[in-house]
């Protein structure tokens, strides 16, 4: 009886162990391509052409930038974009860019980031639509003009967001920025969002207008 039982039990144990890993591989599930576009307006062609898209209404331009790349910056020439003939997106080696964007970082073409003296100032809790000129006491800064608590030089756009440590999300501060571009034009600018409509980070949205 004992030997017989042992003989029959051994295959049972082998069967138990061999069951491990018999479940389906759910990593090979094909995603539904129709539902996986990140295009805000459903126009795939726009997305393929570049990482910057604009839409205008009542003299205010809303710009969406795909800054999801963790290494490459997206360079934007606000002057060219304002003329409406191009998106304003430039290559890294082109001159005339005003803003560089990478994930949540925004740099200016001035100070420690560039040579074209782009600078900004900002007003806290201001009404974007009501502002038609910078305040008299506006402080103009560019990248590297300010330092953090450790004395390290920081970007002028360093603290455009509030970080929620519980949800690990970024929310734009209620600021209106004034940007003096490489062509010495003046724009007002407010950051609207950092997330796409699908909730993905690295999709900076900001509205801006010449003043």
């Amino acid at each position: 009886m004992t030997r017989s039982s042992a003989r029959h039990l051994l295959p049972l144990f082998i069967a138990c162990v061999s069951l491990s890993g018999c479940a389906e591989n759910i990593g090979e599930v094909t995603l539904d391509a129709e539902n996986e576009t990140n295009d805000e307006d459903g126009d795939d062609d726009d997305k393929k052409e570049g990482k910057v898209r604009h839409s205008s209404s009542d003299g205010v331009t809303m710009t969406l930038v795909d800054s999801t790349d963790e290494e490459a910056w997206v360079y934007l020439d606000l002057d060219a974009a304002d003329e409406g003939e191009a998106s304003g997106e430039l290559d890294e080696d082109e001159s005339g860019w005003d803003l560089g964007l990478r994930r949540f970082e925004i740099k200016l073409n001035g100070g420690i980031s560039g040579d074209e003296e782009v600078e900004l100032g900002y007003s806290e809790n201001a009404d974007f639509d009501a502002l038609s000129e910078p305040p008299q006491d506006l402080v103009w800064i560019t990248d590297g003009d300010t330092v953090d608590e450790d004395g390290q030089a920081v970007l002028a756009f360093d603290d455009w967001y509030d970080y929620n440590v519980m949800t690990h999300t970024l929310a734009p501060k209620a600021r209106v920025y004034f940007v003096r571009t490489s062509n010495a034009q003046l724009f007002k600018l407010a950051i609207v969002d950092y997330y796409s409509t699908a909730g993905s980070p690295g999709h900076l949205a900001f509205k801006w207008a010449p003043i």
């Binding site: 039982s5 138990c16 929620n164 699908a198 909730g199």
Partner: protein
């Protein structure tokens, strides 16, 4: 089982009838394997004896074991309607707290969290910690005999992770004769549980086989968004085991099981992303345990293999940016050799434990590049159960253990326990010992980056274990067959706790780097009291109360998620002549602190749950039952993830 009570200024507490103090034994014996952990029926009218093994690694009467041990018995599990270990503990009067997340339901004891609690099955470590804890919902109860709980540091016998306590799930063994059991339950949210067990025991051989199928639709406590609160899941499990005993001096126990669980839920992020989440989890266990039983000694060998596989898939709706597929495989091989030697007033237990663990997961990066890690552990231990005096019974229990871990080297632990039973109805226990928790693979090698908001969390290969020194003083008093009282005070001093801290701001890739460091310290102390009172021959009242004071030393904040006040009450009616059982249970937890965005504690509201169940046994082999869980519909979608009010009915056929 420990039940405690404090009602206002009155504290009267009684143990469960199953944990009522039995008369002290004449001497601590070396039991043979046939008296392995389980419940033993005594002659009619006498107190039953429950055998436990977690506190001493030797089989002892729960009422007189030197280390206080709570037991949730098979009878209590069945009568509670629990289908898994999480439910069995929640439905018991034990001083526990459970918390549910998408990682499952995990356990906290005396203010210490899930990763500081060791979960065993038949003394063998369970692997597959996700988010730090073992998901107790995946451990079904159809083959569970008892669940033993030992509070406080237990590393001296069980090694790492036994910092705040040990939960040992004891499986059912085939009794003599043929036994069969069919069980089916159907309830709210299409929840279905079906299980079967067949077992047979003869003189030389005992065999059993079990199988179960469980499913539920899950739930949503917040209908304002797409996200769900409780996962829908489906699970099946099969298992088999054998006892082979060629002679009275030698026996071999073998067991094996397989479980597969498929969970699905929908998460919503604060940034507006909707994520379809799926976990497909499998576990395999295989154990062979031969033992040789002599007149004054016993030698046991345990060989155990545990394989945990989990596939985590996250599919973002409308984008692929947050899509993830993370397979994890955690394998653990354990070898244990233990000799129990009786010599006069001493029972000396010596042993050797060895473990090999392999982890493969994309969540870690060992040695800078490998998504896999391994570790080996070896330990020797010795314990002397010295009974210098029989009447009154006095037991002194010193124990020492030395662990070697390939991650951090040697680690010694020790414990000294004393039990005195000055009268038959009174037992006093004191123990003081050290426990530790080795850094997990996640804490050693985690590689998590969130470039979207500019930070990464990296593991720290130089971490040292967390440690706790535990003092436990308790008393059990059963002045009559109708009343028993129990109380204990405890103090856990926690050191070298692993916490996450910023170590490199704006590193080479522009990300702030956080890592784990051993700087945390804290304490957890409190009082547990309990009472059981047989109001009428068929009516019993049981209640418990726990007062907990747990804070961190560095920030002087309360440990999150722990209620300072917790109580249970149960009213049971059982008339054997009618075959009728009625149970109404309540559990109350006071406000619980949580960390808030500004660092100050935020408090979740107190809550109460009430469950009721009635069962009727008919035609000797058949029991039908109906019940309702969470009658008050407690729970929310944020801080108290608890299934809403649920109704169920079912039937059990038992031969």
């Amino acid at each position: 089982m420990r039940y405690s009570l404090i009602l206002g200024i009155l504290a009267f507490a009684v143990g469960e009838p199953s944990s009522r103090a039995a008369p002290p034994q004449e001497r601590a014996p070396i039991r043979d394997g046939t008296s392995a952990a389980g419940e033993r029926e005594s002659p009619e009218g006498q107190v039953r004896t429950i055998i436990v093994s977690t506190g001493t690694r030797t089989e002892r009467d729960a009422a007189t074991t030197p280390i206080a041990t709570d037991v949730v018995t098979r009878e209590e599990i069945v009568n509670s309607g629990a289908e898994n270990v999480a439910e069995a503990l929640e439905e018991s009067g034990a001083s526990i707290q459970t918390s549910t997340s998408f990682n499952g339901t995990s356990l906290a004891l005396r203010g210490l969290n899930a990763e500081q609690i060791l979960i065993l099955i038949d003394g063998q470590r369970v692997t597959g910690r996700v988010g730090g804890g073992i998901d107790l919902r995946r451990l079904t109860v159809e083959n569970v005999e008892n669940i033993e709980l030992v509070y406080g540091a237990g590393s001296v016998l069980h090694g790492s992770d036994a910092l705040g306590g040990v939960v040992n799930i004891i499986t059912r063994k085939p009794d003599p004769g043929l036994q069969g059991e069919l069980h089916g339950t159907f309830g709210s949210r299409m929840t279905a549980d079906a299980s079967a067990r067949i077992a047979g025991g003869w003189k030389r051989v005992g065999l059993y086989a079990t199988g179960g199928y469980h499913r539920t639709d899950g739930w949503d406590a917040d209908r304002s968004d797409v996200a769900t609160t409780g996962d829908a899941w489906e699970q099946f499990n099969v298992g088999a085991g054998a006892r082979i005993q060629p002679s009275s001096r030698f026996r071999v126990d073998m067991s094996g099981d397989y479980m597969q669980r498929d969970s699905n839920g929908i998460d919503g992020t604060n940034a507006g992303a909707i994520l379809d989440r799926r976990n497909l989890t499998e576990t395999v266990n295989a154990t062979i345990s031969p033992q040789w039983i002599g007149r004054d000694n016993r030698l046991r060998l345990n060989l155990h293999y545990n394989d945990f596989r989990d596939q985590f898939r996250q599919d973002q709706r409308g984008d692929v940016e947050l899509d993830k597929y993370e397979p994890t495989r955690d394998q653990l091989a354990q070898l244990g050799l233990q000799l129990d030697q009786s010599a006069g007033a001493h029972v000396v237990t010596t042993g050797l434990d060895a473990q090999l663990e392999w982890l493969e997961t994309t969540r870690i990066l060992a040695d800078g590049s490998k998504p896999a890690a391994d570790r080996q552990r070896a330990a020797i231990f010795i314990q002397d159960e010295w009974t210098p005096h029989q009447l009154p019974r006095v037991v002194v229990l010193p124990a020492l253990r030395l662990d070697y871990d390939t991650q951090f080297g040697l680690y010694p632990t020790g414990r000294l326990a004393l039990m005195v039973a000055p009268r038959d109805d009174l037992t006093l226990r004191v123990s003081y010992g050290r426990g530790y928790r080795a850094p997990s693979f996640r804490e050693l090698y985690l590689a998590f980056a969130n470039p979207g908001v500019g930070y990464r969390v990296a593991g720290n290969p130089n971490l040292q274990p967390e440690q706790a020194w535990t003092l436990d003083i308790g008393a059990t008093w059963a002045p009559s067959d109708r009343l028993s009282l129990r109380a204990s005070i405890f103090d856990n001093q926690l050191r070298d706790l692993m916490t996450v801290d910023l170590v490199n701001q704006s590193g080479v890739d522009g990300l702030d780097t956080f890592t784990y460091i051993n700087v945390g310290a804290g304490f957890s102390r409190g009082v547990e009291t309990g009472a059981t009172f047989k109001v009428l021959p068929d009516v019993e009242l049981a209640s418990s109360y726990t007062l907990l004071h747990a804070r961190t030393l560095d920030t002087d904040e309360p440990l999150p998620g722990r209620s300072p006040h917790q109580g249970t009450v149960a009213l049971r009616f059982h008339r054997p002549k009618w075959g009728t059982r009625l149970t109404i249970r309540g559990r109350v937890q006071g406000k619980r602190p949580f960390s808030s965005a500004d660092g100050s504690p935020e408090y979740a509201d107190p809550f109460a749950t009430v469950d009721a169940r009635i069962s009727q046994t008919m035609l000797r082999y058949c029991t039908a039952f109906v019940g309702v869980d969470n009658m008050l519909n407690a729970g929310d979608s944020r801080l108290l993830l608890m299934p809403p009010r649920s109704f169920y009915a079912g039937i059990t056929l038992r031969y």
